[in-house]
């Protein structure tokens, strides 16, 4: 006869209710930074008491693009590079929604680069989270628009020689009202920035420097996930308000983190409504909550 064993139910992780647990396990590699950012994201949702029925998440394609598939929200996994224009349509059609764009450096800055700068220019009210693992991870670690000089990638076996974008600098220049950068080492600060961003109206951008131990770190002999955390800790310097032209990344140089930009500028919808109201007066019928007869 066996002795009855009393199994205590593990206390539920508060983050779990934000995830599509029926889709677990996820596809991400052990030590990948993307999961860490999702954890921060769910913490930020909890702490900001966001109405989850009124928040949508839109991703492009890539390892980061898979985030949309794991969060228990209205979630859209779009085409490569097009998360931002999809999100623009979604936001304009349902202005009451908070629309978060969650995607990778390649998706947002290479194939989707044009969309990104135009959405920033228009100041569409989108909250963009960019997981910057410095490579096209999903396809095997090729050179991307954020890959620093002198690193080995699947398509730069002798090292990269084309300069990378400095993401915060580019996004600020294009017109974003909120720009911050953290690494996956800075979980508290990242979650706090996300909360700040949820409250801010206009085009907001957070870059999260994140490890891809499987491809980027391994190929460049930068150790495993733990080594990368140590590296981030060592080389990161918090400099709120740092001029973004001075925050470009290199292979092993310092990583300036912090909130770089937090400014006011009327967003697209506000500009549109004010302008049409002024020009059309009583004839103006603003697009309200969607009707779809």
């Amino acid at each position: 006869m066996s002795t009855p064993i009393c199994i205590q139910k593990a206390p539920e992780n508060p983050v779990e209710s934000f995830l599509r647990t029926d889709r677990m396990p996820h596809i991400w590699c052990p030590g990948c930074g993307i999961g860490t950012t999702v954890n921060c994201f769910t913490r930020a949702l909890i702490d900001s008491k966001t109405d989850l029925n009124k928040l949508s998440i839109v991703s492009g394609i890539g390892c980061t693009g898979r985030v949309a598939g794991y969060v228990n929200l209205d979630s859209f996994h779009t085409t490569h590079g097009r998360a931002i224009p999809f999100a623009t349509g979604l936001k304009l059609a349902s202005p009451e929604m908070t629309v978060v764009v969650y995607s990778g450096d390649g998706d947002l800055f290479a194939i989707g680069g044009n969309h990104l700068i135009h959405a920033a220019r228009r100041n569409v009210d989108l909250k963009v989270i960019c997981v910057n693992n410095l490579t096209y991870a999903m396809t095997g670690g090729q050179t991307g628009p954020a890959t620093p000089l002198d690193v080995i990638t699947a398509t730069a076996p002798y090292g990269t020689y084309d300069p990378a974008f400095n993401l915060p600098y580019l996004v600020e220049a294009a017109g974003a009202v909120y720009v911050a950068r953290w690494t996956t080492f800075h979980v508290k600060q990242l979650a706090k920035s996300m909360q700040e961003m949820f409250k801010k109206k206009g085009f907001c951008f957070i870059e999260v420097v994140s490890p891809c131990p499987t491809l980027y770190q391994r190929r460049n002999k930068m150790g495993d996930a733990l080594d990368t955390m140590k590296f981030y800790k060592e080389v990161s310097k918090v400099k709120h308000g740092a001029p973004t032209n001075e925050v470009g990344l290199s292979k092993s140089g310092e990583i300036i983190v912090g909130k770089f930009v937090d400014r006011e500028r009327p967003d697209f919808e506000t500009m549109m409504k004010a302008h049409l109201e002024a020009s059309l007066g009583e004839k103006y019928i603003p697009a309200e909550a969607p009707t779809c007869s």
Binding site: V58, N72, T79, T88, G89, L90, A93, P290, S293
Partner: protein
């Protein structure tokens, strides 16, 4: 079916070109969002919409390119509105990506393509009907869409409404395949009263939030119900192969089940979807098949042939896709042959040949575009086939 929202319905007789008429059709159909990128000869559609939108509670946004325009409308649809975009050849090429995405995610939407001469930049201001295969095959993978071909400004209006209705019924992108001549010709367009305009509403689900499946087919349309962002259904929409819940599932079994349904929901309902206009087909020796502006030139040729005593019928393809196989198949054994006239060097004629399956002759009167056919060219083919 419901009726059009009177806001925006300009009831009455108008003198409009096809581009403007299509815009009015979209508004009557309930479109309250459009994203566009200018390109001749289609720009007038969105120009008019940008003018009308703020007065009818609609939104227009000019995007940075057609890639953006064609997915911004899909985002808007999931936000709960009816939406469309408009373009011509070079822009249509850029939109192929999102034809596939709209098919895969079963996002109801309308694309208007005012065809001009190609390939590439081609003839920006001159007509062609050379995107007819591109619309069906231009995006990768297996898919079915619906494409309609108006031959007058009135039909640009009527068929744009029809396009929206079909897109909602089957959760599929529907294409209004205009051409430069139809887009720019001005004729009388009658806009009925709102209550006379039949509208297919979006079929938003009322099912339980915990058990609703965004991709579980319903009814003989094999088409799932819709939900929109913000309603609490927590939808997941992906271009990856997915199961009934919308969750990625990249197995051959799910691929087979899902892609097959995307295709059969249109193929199995093709006879219901297809509209053709047939004239004097009974007893004809030769039947002329045409669509869009070419049908009007062909009509002249048919009249000339009849004046010479030839027995000629016509089939006008109002629906080009799904192709009305059944119509052609039924006629083929009873005639000497078909004459297919179109402003391209051989596109829809392939479908006619396929449907005829050797049962009669098929003659093609092609044209590289830039202008319409001369009726005599079509007449010559009719005479040859009648011989």
């Amino acid at each position: 079916m419901t009726h059009a929202d009177p806001v925006g319905v300009l009831t009455g007789a108008h003198f409009l070109d096809g581009d403007h008429a299509a815009c009015e059709g979209a508004i009557c159909a309930g479109a309250r969002f459009s994203a566009g990128y200018p390109i001749t000869p289609s720009t007038e559609v969105v120009e008019r919409f940008s003018h009308r939108a703020p007065k009818i509670g609609a939104t227009f946004i000019q995007m940075e390119d057609e890639l953006a325009a064609s997915i911004a409308i899909l985002g808007a649809v999931w936000g709960g509105v009816k939406a469309f975009t408009v373009t011509s050849g070079p822009g249509f090429s850029l939109m192929m990506e999102h034809i596939g995405y709209a098919v895969m995610t079963e996002t109801p939407c309308v694309f208007i393509d005012v065809q001009r001469g190609g390939p590439s930049t081609g003839l920006p201001t001159l007509p062609a009907q050379a995107d007819m295969m591109q619309v069906k095959w231009g995006s990768h993978g297996d898919y079915e869409i619906i494409a309609l071909c108006p031959n007058s400004p009135q039909e640009c209006f009527d068929l744009t409404i029809k396009a929206f209705n079909l897109s909602e019924k089957y959760r599929v992108p529907v294409f209004v395949m205009m051409d430069e001549v139809v887009g720019h010709m001005t004729e009388k367009v009658v806009i009925p009263r709102a209550e006379e305009i039949e509208i297919e509403p979006r079929h938003f689900t009322t099912q339980d939030k915990s058990s609703f499946q965004l991709y579980a087919p319903v009814g003989e349309e094999q088409t799932p119900e819709m939900a929109k962002a913000g309603d609490g259904y927590k939808v997941h929409v992906t271009g990856l192969t997915h199961d009934e819940r919308g969750y990625p599932n990249m197995t051959p079994a799910v691929q087979e089940r899902m892609v097959k349904r995307l295709v059969t929901k249109i193929r199995d309902n093709a006879e219901k979807i297809c509209i053709t206009e047939q004239n004097e087909v009974e007893g004809a020796d030769v039947v002329v098949v045409s669509y869009g502006i070419t049908s009007r030139v062909a009509q002249r040729a048919v009249e000339m042939a009849r004046a010479k005593g030839l027995k000629v019928g016509t089939v006008r393809l109002i629906t080009a896709w799904p192709f009305p196989d059944h119509v052609i198949r039924a006629i083929a054994p009873k005639v000497k042959g078909f004459v297919v006239a179109e402003l391209n060097l051989g596109q829809m004629v392939r479908e006619v040949e396929r449907s005829v399956a050797g049962k009669c002759r098929v003659a093609h009167v092609g044209h590289a575009g830039g202008t319409v056919h001369k009726p005599e060219e079509i007449l010559k083919a009719i005479e040859e086939v009648a011989r």
